[in-house]
């Protein structure tokens, strides 16, 4: 069935048969076809998604977001924060100033957490990769579950009234307020392109490397091996995938193509989704940075709520949907 991606299939087939003179049915041929199909397709999607998000985010600078979310009530504020998080990039190095600035700007703790969960989890790299490797339905499912988790996690933390476990100095810092920038559309598009170059420039080696590893698995690793370890027969595959995902921050680009190859050999998609969420939302460096503003009990609640939520998403998708 022809689709927008048909040209990529034609290209991959052409590369394997004409350039390398191989039969796509052989191991090496099927590995190479996987590689030459996925690399151009994923990079194209990454450029497109990054550009759209990079341009839209100029309307949602943190100052503007703080103004929108300031003083919002539970639930409505959490929903708004989770959706805004889709369009805003997030670098864990900014987590602390952002956290302080939001709280001082009158954004409730639970709403701040909804944003802190959604922004890194629903990011352009993860969405573009899921779309390219697993299709748009899986990408949308990921966004949907990500938003649901961000809302639920923030509401739980908000209801528990854990403000007492925020490091006391946070309330004492006199936070200044920057002004949201206004800029013409041309400047916004230029900004979108700048952020696209930055993102693609940073992650393309991981994507190519990850797809190369995925291509090897695709051609050479036997399916029954994958089924035994990561398949539906292993009831612990979801939690194990979540635990494995925590130290892999920033390498989502290199890791997802490997999971694609594993999924092709029987690893269930819920396990893939849970793993992706763990990599993006539960990164070890971000937790260490957040420790600066969160006292250990609050950090533990945050990690516990997220871990439980992500594992639930994995099981829900594997066994119910």
């Amino acid at each position: 069935m022809p689709s927008v991606f048909t040209p990529y299939e034609v290209f991959a087939r052409w590369a394997v048969e004409r350039v390398f003179g191989l039969d796509p049915a052989t191991r090496l041929g099927s590995s190479l076809e996987f590689f030459f199909y996925d690399v151009p397709k994923v990079l194209t999607l990454l450029v497109a998604v990054s550009f759209v998000v990079g341009t839209l985010q100029t309307w949602l600078q943190p100052e503007a977001v703080r103004r929108i979310l300031g003083g919002r009530r539970l639930l409505f504020g959490n929903i708004a924060a989770a959706f805004i998080g889709i369009f805003t990039p997030f670098c864990s190095c900014s987590a602390v100033p952002l956290f302080i600035g939001f709280l001082k700007g009158g954004v409730p703790l639970g709403v701040t957490f909804s944003y802190l969960i959604s922004a890194p989890m629903v990011n352009e790299v993860a969405v573009a990769l899921l779309w390219g490797l697993f299709g748009w339905k899986i990408a949308l499912t990921y966004i949907g579950f990500g938003i649901a988790l961000a809302i639920a996690g923030g509401v739980v933390i908000g209801l528990l009234r854990l403000e007492k476990w925020v490091e006391p100095f946070v309330w004492e810092v006199p936070a200044g307020a920057g002004e949201p920038e206004s800029m013409p559309l041309r400047a916004r598009l230029r900004e979108g392109w700048r952020s696209t170059r930055e993102i693609v420039g940073k992650v393309w080696p991981y994507i190519v490397g990850g797809i190369a590893a995925g291509a090897f698995i695709h051609g050479y690793v036997p399916s029954d091996l994958v089924m035994r370890w990561a398949g539906p027969e292993n009831p612990f595959a979801v939690p194990v995938a979540v635990i494995l995902g925590v130290p892999l921050y920033a390498n989502i680009a290199g890791v997802l193509p490997i999971t694609e190859a594993l999924a092709g050999k029987g690893m269930p998609l819920g396990t893939v989704l849970a793993f992706t969420m763990a990599v993006t939302a539960l990164s070890a460096p971000e937790m260490i940075i957040l420790r600066n503003v969160l006292r250990p009990p609050l950090l533990a609640v945050f990690i516990g709520v997220m871990t439980a939520g992500i594992i639930a998403v994995g099981y829900l998708f594997n066994f119910v949907l």
Partner: protein, 78 residues
């Protein structure tokens, strides 16, 4: 003037610092560079996202690595 680079010392902050210095040199400005890495100080100055650039305590640019050409007008206006 005092050019301040706000950020926790990641690669982006160093790039911003280099660009700011290049801009200041090309404009022939007398300047000193101050790196602000303490996140309390960063929050106090009003930056929600790093890296950020301030001149004499006033925030000029947040959340991106601007090139020298983009930084020049910010320095000239101060």
């Amino acid at each position: 003037m005092k050019i301040q680079i706000l950020g926790s010392g990641c690669a982006k902050c160093n790039q911003l610092r280099e660009n700011a210095e290049a801009a200041a040199r090309e404009l022939g400005l007398e300047y000193e560079i101050e790196k602000i890495t303490d996140f309390r100080e960063i929050a106090r100055m009003g930056a929600l996202v790093t890296p950020a650039l301030a001149v004499d305590g006033k925030l000029k640019l947040v959340g991106k690595v601007a090139g020298p050409e983009e930084i020049k007008p910010l320095l000239r206006a101060s």
